[in-house]
Amino acid sequence: MNDQAMNDQESQPNAADELWELRLYVAGQTAKSLAAFANLKTVCEEHLAGKYNIEVVDLLVNPQLARGDQIVAIPTLVRKLPEPMRKIIGDLSNTERVLVGLQLRPKKTSQA
């Protein structure tokens, strides 16, 4: 990786050089799904530019794929890599929580 944008002190150590594999589960082109994709794209460009990969899975087309990743809510973003697997549900409109969910930022709640 020839990327040197990762100057963010807050990023997790395991995030350093790896490729991020993200999968976004949607069910048709709904407003929530479109919003989630747009929000995700923004966050990735800002924090993971050049080392992420987003795969969109439309369950209306491939319903059998919902089982594997235990999808219940839509939209669901699954961080396949780096491990461990993480899930973020919702339209990803709250950037702060998306970053926490992806472990790009530690949880605030632990410190005052």
């Binding site: 919003a35 235990q70 919702g90």
Partner: protein
């Protein structure tokens, strides 16, 4: 007036029902669960709701050609399959034959972050996919309330679950949704508010270390249902509900008579014996010969080629067979021909309801023409007196509805009033024989008399009663020295 009434019923076609195939449940629901609609089955932990739901799917797949989908929120498919194997259900085989689809839904709060709006479309997609893949007609959601532990937006979950139930209805599948009983509510998150057609409550109580399972239909829209609690059993054949209430007065009656097995007794009963399908009580003190009369009656039934089921609560089968050989009665040959089945069990082994359920199940399986319970007084030791009374009423009504002649022995204490049965069932008994010892001139002699026998002329005399090595013998009088008196 009657035409107005029939016009009213014509407006409302009877609700279509889907038989569950679970023994007894279809009887107490008048044909099954509301077809194409969801039913809520709720109860505390370990009450048997998951088992009921799974049996509903298994019976549907195997007996009604209705494939089913099980969406499990609590246990994995492997765990579920293992748990029900002891009931004779092979889930893996059904899955392989596309008769059943199991989808284990797991939501782990610790690995999920929530941000912004979402819905449960993923669940709908999974369920819809499973239904369409095998052409399911039945669906079970066990227990969907688990989602409340995995996701934080309770308001959204509620509206999505409501939408899911509506969606199931649109799909036209007959569904069971299980719910854990909450504090003062039928289910923890009030699912009963969304399931308006049918709600069934299961209960598992342990009183004095005796466990009893009961089922009650809390609600069944557009259908009459008994408000009673029905006992149910879970054993190696699955679930069985005992569809017995004490309201059975509609049974048909027979004019046919059946011999008692004792010539002298037949004579006392208008010369012909008991009515078929009637209930007979034989009471007496210990050692008076009640079991002998019961066994003679059983043997006489077998001799006619009928089947007889004998419940022995004091003696084992071997002991009974041996002891009765001493009065020249060979029960073994009837057992070998499978005309006689002896079911020996200690009355305290399980609760009254379980006894009733057991008896019901065995009667349904064996289809006997005669049933002997020896003695019913032992039931009192398995429950309170009022419980025992109501159970016996239900048992008697059940046997009558099946046109089975029932003979019950009852142990009376020598100092108690002989004509007062402990359990107060005399009013629903058709014929009542009393055995007693009469002491005279330093000698004890057995005597028998007919206290009542509905619908037939019967002897009012007290006759002598003797056990001989070739059976029971009645003498004209209790004491032959009294010959001539009537």
């Amino acid at each position: 007036m009657s035409s107005a009434k029939s016009g009213l019923t014509a407006d409302k076609p009877p609700l279509a029902k889907a038989p569950t195939g679970i023994q007894g449940l279809d009887e107490v629901t008048g044909g099954g669960l509301p077809k194409g609609r969801p039913t809520l089955v709720c109860g505390g932990p370990g009450c048997g709701k998951t088992l009921l739901a799974i049996e509903f799917l298994v019976r549907g797949a195997t007996e009604y050609d209705e494939p089913g989908v099980l969406m499990a929120f609590e246990e994995t498919a492997e765990d579920l399959a293992r748990n029900v194997r002891s009931l004779g259900f092979d889930l893996e085989d059904l899955v392989e034959r596309n008769k059943l689809a199991i989808d284990y839904v797991h939501v782990e709060r610790s690995e999920i972050e929530e941000t912004g709006e979402y819905d449960l479309e993923g669940l709908f997609v999974r369920l819809g996919h499973a239904i369409d893949t095998i052409g399911a007609r039945r669906v079970v959601l066990d227990t969907i309330e688990v989602l409340f532990g995995g996701l934080s937006n309770a308001g959204l979950l509620r509206s999505e679950i409501r939408r899911l139930f509506r969606w199931l209805k649109d799909k036209g599948v007959t569904a069971i949704i299980t719910g854990e009983r909450g504090q003062g509510t039928l289910s923890r998150h009030g699912l009963e508010e969304y399931v308006s057609d049918c709600v069934i409550l299961l209960d598992h109580r342990v009183t004095e270390q005796v466990s009893t399972r009961r089922l009650r239909i809390v609600k069944y829209r557009g259908s009459t249902h008994g408000a009673n609690e029905f006992p149910f059993l879970i054993d190696e054949n699955g679930l069985s509900v005992v569809p017995i209430t004490s309201a059975g007065m509609e049974h048909s009656v027979s004019n046919e008579r059946v011999a008692t097995g004792v010539a002298g007794l037949d004579e006392m009963l208008g010369g012909k014996g008991f009515f078929r399908g009637s209930s007979v009580l034989v009471s007496g003190a210990a050692g008076a010969g009640k079991t002998s009369i019961a066994a003679q009656f059983a043997s006489a039934a077998c001799e006619r080629g009928e089947r007889c089921l004998l419940f022995s609560f004091e003696e084992s089968q071997n002991q009974l067979v041996r002891n009765l050989r001493s009065i020249g009665l060979d029960l073994e040959r009837w057992i070998k021909k499978d005309l006689l089945r002896i079911h020996a069990v200690r009355p305290t082994h399980y609760g009254l309801e379980m006894h009733l359920a057991q008896i019901h199940r065995l009667v349904v399986a064996f289809r006997p023409q005669a049933v002997v319970v020896d003695p019913i007084s032992n039931f009192i030791s398995a429950g309170t007196q009022s419980d025992a009374g109501s159970m016996l009423v239900r048992l008697i009504d059940f046997l009558k509805s099946q046109a089975i002649t029932g003979l019950f022995t009852n142990l009376t204490h020598s100092d108690a009033n002989l004509e007062q049965t402990d359990v107060g069932i005399s009013s629903i008994i058709d014929a009542w024989l009393l055995l007693r010892d009469i002491e005279r001139d330093g000698e004890r002699r057995g005597a028998v008399y007919v206290l009542k026998s509905r619908g037939m002329p019967h002897s009012k005399r007290v006759r002598g009663f003797r056990l001989t090595d070739h059976g029971i013998e009645l003498t004209p009088e209790a004491f032959s020295t009294e010959a001539g008196r009537t």
